[in-house]
Symmetry: C2
Subunit: 202 residues, 2 copies
DNA sequence: CAAAACGGAATGAACGTTCATTCCACTACT
DNA sequence: AGTAGTGGAATGAACGTTCATTCCGTTTTG
């Protein structure tokens, strides 16, 4: 009927299915780990056939890599909302930490997927590339930590340790909230992030 | 000749094989995760037949549970060496944190096994039991944290969060050392543990 | 004291299941 | 009618587990 739809409709359909597959895979991996997310189940939950997945992703490894990338594309805009480079370093740390906790509380599946990801060979390789500087180092966090070190408001410790001191507790607390071991509220979040800051400040 | 040997010799042989299986399983799981440690490989590395494992452990789940128990039995004596309940709370925190880091650095396979364990359903269930008080709460760490809270030298935060604030960075730093992202020395360890303490103290 | 018989420990081939991936008949559009 | 897209059965590799058999130290027998 409409001649103009010929190029658009197929593209839209493709994107829809791709997104459904990503969503289904994220849910299953977050809930049951990599082992509890066979391709057949992902296909079922996405409402597509098992073979269809391979039209969008070369294999399971590629699918998982795309999931990670997709997550970063949703996480970064969120934590950068209201982030201003002209704030004090302390204010920026508190902003990022709070935003990170909020995001994980609002998107527990994303947290649990990340947890699975970084505790697998995928994540270790990914981090190795990043730390050893193979990839671009202009990460928001890297920039902020580097600035804190040069301005001497942060402890004189290697960057990697500062990262651990700041993100270690944040991720642990997020995990315990998501697992139901504790109920975080605004006040608790504020005080937790403040404690993380105290750990790294000079 | 010696009548008494009849009961002892078989027992010694049995213990040896059991230990070999535990060691092989720990190594493989630490190096390649639960998925990269099939029973056949564990048997190979232990120098026993595949079926032999099932003479000592009912199934893989039980084997993994025993591995965790075995690890705690080796870890606790180590971190409690030189630990005195009459020291200040701060001194005791520094002692335990330092001992923990030292242990993980000296026994990276144990760290990596624990990492795998706590990021699996086994570990989550285990922690749920512990936190919800199903098990005995007279853990060294629990006692110390509780004392710190009642004596008001620790921040007024829920125990679970204090745990996260203290162990989160420690485990993150241990991980990065073991993965080779940083080379910890005595000085770095001392300052890292001190930073962890600063995060939880009032 | 030698030799035969015994019994539990050890074995690894085999089994059933589950997984990622492939393949091809079928659909739905133009 | 032709073609790109789709679903789900088919495939083979890999897994945990089982079990008939072997092995070996001890005991019993002659």
């Amino acid at each position: 009927m409409n001649v103009h739809s010929t190029t658009q409709v197929p593209k839209m359909i493709k994107l829809d299915k791709r997104d459904e597959i990503l969503r289904a895979a994220r849910e299953l991996i977050a809930e049951h780990g990599f082992h509890g997310a066979p391709m057949a189940l992902i296909a079922d939950r996405a409402g597509v056939g098992a073979g269809t997945i391979y039209r969008y992703f070369e294999n399971k490894d590629v699918l998982i890599g795309q999931l990670h990338q997709n997550l970063e594309e949703r996480l970064y805009p969120h934590i950068l909302t209201g982030y201003a480079a002209d704030q004090t370093i302390r204010a920026r740390f508190l902003h990022l930490g709070t935003a990170l906790l909020h995001y994980f509380i609002a998107n527990p599946l994303d947290y649990r997927f990340l947890q699975q990801f970084y505790n697998s060979p995928y994540g270790v390789d990914h981090r190795r590339d990043k730390i050893l500087g193979v990839k671009d180092g202009n990460d928001v966090f890297c920039v902020l930590f580097a600035e804190g070190v040069t301005q001497q408001v942060l402890k004189d410790l290697p960057m990697v340790i500062l990262f651990g001191l700041y993100f270690g507790p944040l991720l642990a607390v997020a995990r315990d909230h998501i697992l139901g071991f504790i109920q975080l509220d605004e006040d608790l979040i504020t005080r937790t992030v403040a404690a993380c800051w105290e750990g790294i400040q000079k």
